[in-house]
Symmetry: C2
Subunit: 488 residues, 2 copies
């Protein structure tokens, strides 16, 4: 089974596609650019959702649901926003089909044309701020801290499973505040919630920073991002949180009376992560034998496999062990399928990234032990039955930490600092990764560098140091380093 995966070295893109397909995560659908998220892939997404939802609620947010459709006129109300999204919109123009008069089949009924076209939401700022107008009248109505889990559509021409699809699943937070400072603090808070989730649950290190004007969300004053590094040396924007200023409040006329009874425009943020995180999760940890999952997000953390096949004696031990592990809060599957050999099962669970595999054979029973194998390093050890629960508890923590550390090490090895343009280009060509370099702060230079190297400024790091220097490309003065990379 593992043999069917292309190695990373041979063809990284194909390796990614192989894992997504062979681990049963997703596949392309009959609709161009749209994917089917398969049950195993969806169960990982449910773990991601569940944890993020808890973190959103713990920071005071509540969920709601807004319409899928956005009237065309709404999109036009915020100038930069429409500029950013108009070119990739799915447009509903009719609300009925009928049988064609010549009997050739189903056609759009021309009598059922909508007066105003509806856009499938590419993001919901416009419909939500149109709604907030009625919900907000006084400072007592603020802040509004609302999130929604939803599907959105952006008509991408080149799609890749999870990383870029026409329809994707995401959450979008939309908050309203009385003051600028409060809105900025909210946008920063959500960036740190995303970073916390990425580091501590996905075991995926991320850089926190702000986007340049050129890379900002259409309609934002400031975009806070988390940027991860994939094993091919390319960066992945994993989540963004936007300070929107009063742009949408002004576009949709959302005002409130402050404590002094004066009317003011409301301040806004929005923030989102999507099924793209699945792509990041896969590419951060997986290897040439398949998916590798951090225990915190693994739908099944431990699989128990009887060797060479299930017997009554082994089943009793396996079921008892399952119970004990579950009592310790661990999710366990016992594979009693008689039709498959253990070797086949081992390869299958490796492919699916199950963090820990426990093998139980007849001889193990006699010795009162089991074999415990960890997915990340492939190490196997024999462990006495009476201590196996404690051992596995520690092992799961250890795997979680090891995956994080391994990814941190990879990033450190792919972190370059340079002041030399030739070296900058050589690094991009030869090893990739993040490059810390000076930039003169102009859009022209940024775009020129992108044109010449395909590298973009991933972020201006939150922890950027004041440092006089010269722009890596133009030689003009710079006050600090920014982070470049090739990116997804």
């Amino acid at each position: 089974m593992a043999k069917e995966i292309t190695s990373r070295e041979e063809n990284y893109s194909q390796w990614y596609v192989d894992i997504v397909k062979k681990a049963g995560l997703a596949e392309h659908s009959a609709v161009r650019g749209c994917m089917v998220i398969k049950p195993y892939g969806f169960s990982i997404w449910e773990k991601i959702q569940g944890q993020l939802d808890k973190m959103f609620k713990a920071t005071g947010h509540v969920n709601a649901y807004f319409p899928l459709f956005i009237p065309k006129s709404f999109l036009s109300k915020e100038a930069e926003h429409v500029e950013g999204f108009a070119k990739e919109c799915a447009v509903v123009t009719h609300y009925r089909l009928k049988q064609s008069e010549d009997g050739s089949g189903l056609v759009v009924d021309p009598d059922a044309r909508l007066e105003e076209e509806l856009i499938i939401r590419p993001t919901s700022e416009t419909i939500i701020w149109n709604t907030y107008r009625d919900w907000i009248s006084s400072y007592r109505d603020l802040p509004l801290l609302i999130n929604q889990w939803a599907n959105v559509v952006r008509w991408e021409m080149r799609t890749r499973l999870f990383l870029r699809t026409a329809e994707f699943l995401w959450q979008e937070g939309h908050t309203a505040h009385a003051t600028e400072a409060e809105a900025v603090a909210e946008a920063e808070l959500m960036q740190s919630v995303y970073a916390d989730f990425a580091e501590n649950y996905m075991a995926m290190p991320v850089l926190k920073g702000t986007k340049t004007e050129n890379e900002r969300f259409a309609g934002a004053i400031e975009t806070y991002a988390i940027e991860a590094l994939m094993q091919d040396g390319k960066a992945l924007q994993a989540g963004t949180s936007h300070f929107l200023g009063q742009n949408f409040a002004k576009a949709f006329d959302v005002k409130y009376l402050n404590e002094n009874n004066q009317e003011e425009y409301v301040w806004a943020t929005s923030w989102g992560v999507s099924t793209r995180l699945m792509g990041g999760l896969i590419m951060t940890h997986s290897d040439d034998d398949g998916l590798v999952l951090p225990p915190a997000l693994a739908p099944i953390q431990v699989v128990i496999v009887p060797i060479p096949k299930p017997s009554e004696a082994i089943s009793i031990v396996a079921d008892r062990l399952k119970e004990s592990l579950e009592a310790a809060g661990i999710t366990v599957k016992v594979d009693n399928d008689m039709k498959k050999r253990p070797g086949f099962k081992f390869a299958e669970y490796e492919m699916k990234g199950i963090p820990v595999r426990i093998g139980i054979g007849q001889r193990d029973l006699e010795k009162n032990q089991v074999e415990v194998a960890r997915r990340d390093t492939k190490e196997k050890v024999n462990i006495p039955l009476e201590t196996v629960v404690e051992y596995v508890e520690n092992l799961l923590q250890d795997i979680q930490q090891n995956l994080h550390q391994r990814a941190l090490d990879f990033r450190a090895q792919h972190w370059s600092v340079t002041d030399d343009w030739d070296e900058f280009q050589a690094i991009l060509k030869e090893k990739g990764g993040f490059i810390s370099a000076h930039w003169d702060g102009t859009k022209e230079t940024e775009l020129k560098i992108k044109e010449l190297t395909k590298a973009t400024i991933r972020c201006i790091p939150n922890d950027q140091k004041d440092e006089e220097g010269k722009c890596i490309y133009s030689g003009n003065p710079s006050a600090g380093r920014v982070v470049f990379a090739l990116a997804y």
Copy 2:
């Protein structure tokens, strides 16, 4: 606050709308026929989702996600299915907007017309069975037991919040089986899962039965339904489970090799409940003071209100009580808002249907007691602090049972058995409810009765008794009674 609600007697429809709006459950959006589910309404939907999802998983189902879009040609493949849905489809015809050449604004870009129009899913049988073709080749791939939580669109002309909206949220299960018997058993199982949920969580009694051919899902061989009764005497179809035979397998050419290596078409079911359940929940229990929620689905089960306003001494007791209640698995809110009077808060929590309210005043502290009020009967009692947790635990169970019993009693009072056509019509006009009557089994009679009285056959009860009789309308022979009602 409560004063703002129209009474049921005065105007039942307006009463419903008032509750939905004033309890903060939902509102109409700027998009015709689409609603906004507000945070409090959504938190109830999350409870419904969470419990159903558990029950689906406990019966062996897994979640997945299929595309929002259905190619027009897919709809046409199952003849009855397309007949049922073509007239209410939102159709995507273009994938780009552009600025008009005369500068008048955003227009659909005629160059971005789709080769084949895409339908926003009204239900997903077609796209899913097109996918299952690749997933199923052998009996070893069966059964496939998959569910998805999704939004769907049916372009309804007359909409009502939760009960009938153009876009709604739902779950749709789509299962594939090797045999007819197994598929029928699955469809029946899901009907009973829905009934279990309705009775034991929603405290909403439901009739279980099958639909007549005329009321069946477009493309089904048999539709199993649960039917509830609202306080205005009208029935609400609350959930359906369909045995689809091999209709979709044939339409999408989904075959499998059986154990004898022979090719056969796969057998199918589909089943769904939607945000319509919210309408049923509201209308089953609520009264003229607002929403009434069964404790099992109340996002907040107990609210603690300091009287007349929060003080340090009261806060200490309130917080400690909250902790103790939470330790017993009860969800609690302490309302320390200084800006609102207790009377206002009482009315607000009544409106929101919080099952139990605990008032704590200065004099209560001296007596070491609190005042416990239940939402369903409005009874209030003083309870010693040391026994309040146990009291509330029992009270929540009691409220859950009482709401169920009250609804059962209401249904019993609105359950008529008649063999007389005049009486049949009089019952419909004067008291409504379910009417058990004989029917000759023909579509003609069914439609004639509907035309004359607006009543429809809600179901042929699962527990229908063999009983010779004469059709209530035609006088022709009948072998058993069916259940009629006016319906939503």
